[in-house]
């Protein structure tokens, strides 16, 4: 019985969380956590920080309404710990910039409620590069 109630309330909490996280709006702010020092310069995020992984996605987080401390906390205690690497920086940008290209940003909450992926990357590497450059062009570099 206790086990059943635990499962019930867990499922209830998760469904409530999903309901409180709406679809990603154009005006929302997103960030990309960066673990390679080769992907940042003194003042800029380099395009390669946005290129998709082998699954054709770029992992980002929704940060609208979060404080600076909360944003860094997600990066350090959730993303960095999972990858086993040291967080070097993050790049902040708006969802609207993502959707100016062929890309979309969709919520993907299996790891964290605020996690999302940039999807619909073209397959040609020069086309990917152009989109990544456009994203880097409109991204603000933040360092811990």
């Amino acid at each position: 019985m206790i086990q059943f109630l635990k499962s019930f309330f867990k499922a209830l909490r998760e469904s409530q969380t999903r309901e409180t996280i709406p679809n990603i709006q154009d005006q929302e702010d997103l960030c990309r956590y960066i673990f390679s020092s080769n992907h940042v310069s003194a003042t800029k995020v380099k395009y390669a920080a946005f290129l998709p992984d082998k699954n054709g996605e770029t992992s980002v987080f929704r940060i609208s309404g979060c404080t600076e401390n909360e944003i860094w906390d997600i990066g350090i205690n959730h993303v960095a710990k999972l990858s086993g690497r040291i967080l070097k920086a993050r790049g902040d940008f708006a969802a609207s910039h993502v959707r100016k290209s062929s890309l979309d940003v969709i919520s993907e909450t299996s790891r964290h409620d605020l996690h999302a992926n940039l999807v619909n990357w073209p397959t040609e590497r020069d086309e990917q590069k152009l989109i990544a450059i456009e994203l880097a062009n409109s991204t603000k570099l933040c360092k811990p």
């Binding site: 080769n38 086309e127 590069k129």
Partner: protein, 164 residues
């Protein structure tokens, strides 16, 4: 007094015939020879030394999978050698790029001159270069070109355009 005796010296870049016999004359002759040797070397050898060192460092760092924390592919030796060849072919008269490893295992070169003036090209170890860039407000370019020994003109022209 010691003097270096040079006879019938036709050109500054031709080693002169040394008729001096003292230690100092020998030292001056060696200095002239070294200077001529230095002047005859392609300028790229000097200017790209630091870039080559950076390329080697990036190759070592990124030659294992997941070097970016997001499951990036390792950079292969074939990619490294093609990137090395790119740097040796790159004209010293143009601004130097920043070397950027890509999650696909490619090595990219980036020229960033501020907002809307960013250009990048990458090698994959298969004799091709993918490039893309913002060449000023409203102007974009992208494509893939074959690459063997010389860098395609479209890439050099794009760099010149945003550097001016």
């Amino acid at each position: 007094m010691t003097a270096l005796a040079l006879t019938n010296h036709q050109s500054f870049l031709q080693p002169p015939r040394d008729t001096g016999t003292s230690v100092c004359a020998d030292a001056i002759y060696k200095l002239i020879q070294d200077t001529i040797k230095h002047l005859k070397e392609p300028e790229i050898w000097h200017k790209s030394d630091s870039l080559i060192a950076e390329l080697k460092s990036i190759y070592i760092e990124c030659s294992v999978d997941n070097w970016d924390g997001y499951s990036a592919r390792a950079i292969s030796f074939a990619v490294f050698t093609e990137a090395h060849s790119f740097l040796l072919s790159y004209p010293s008269t143009l601004p130097q790029p920043e070397i950027v490893p890509e999650p696909s295992g490619e090595i990219g070169f980036e020229w960033n001159f501020g907002e809307n003036k960013i250009f990048a090209a990458s090698v994959k170890g298969n004799n091709s270069i993918a490039y893309a860039g913002l060449l000023g407000a409203g102007s974009k370019i992208n494509g893939i070109e074959a690459y063997s020994d010389s860098i395609p003109q479209v890439i050099l022209q794009s760099i010149k355009r945003i550097a001016d």
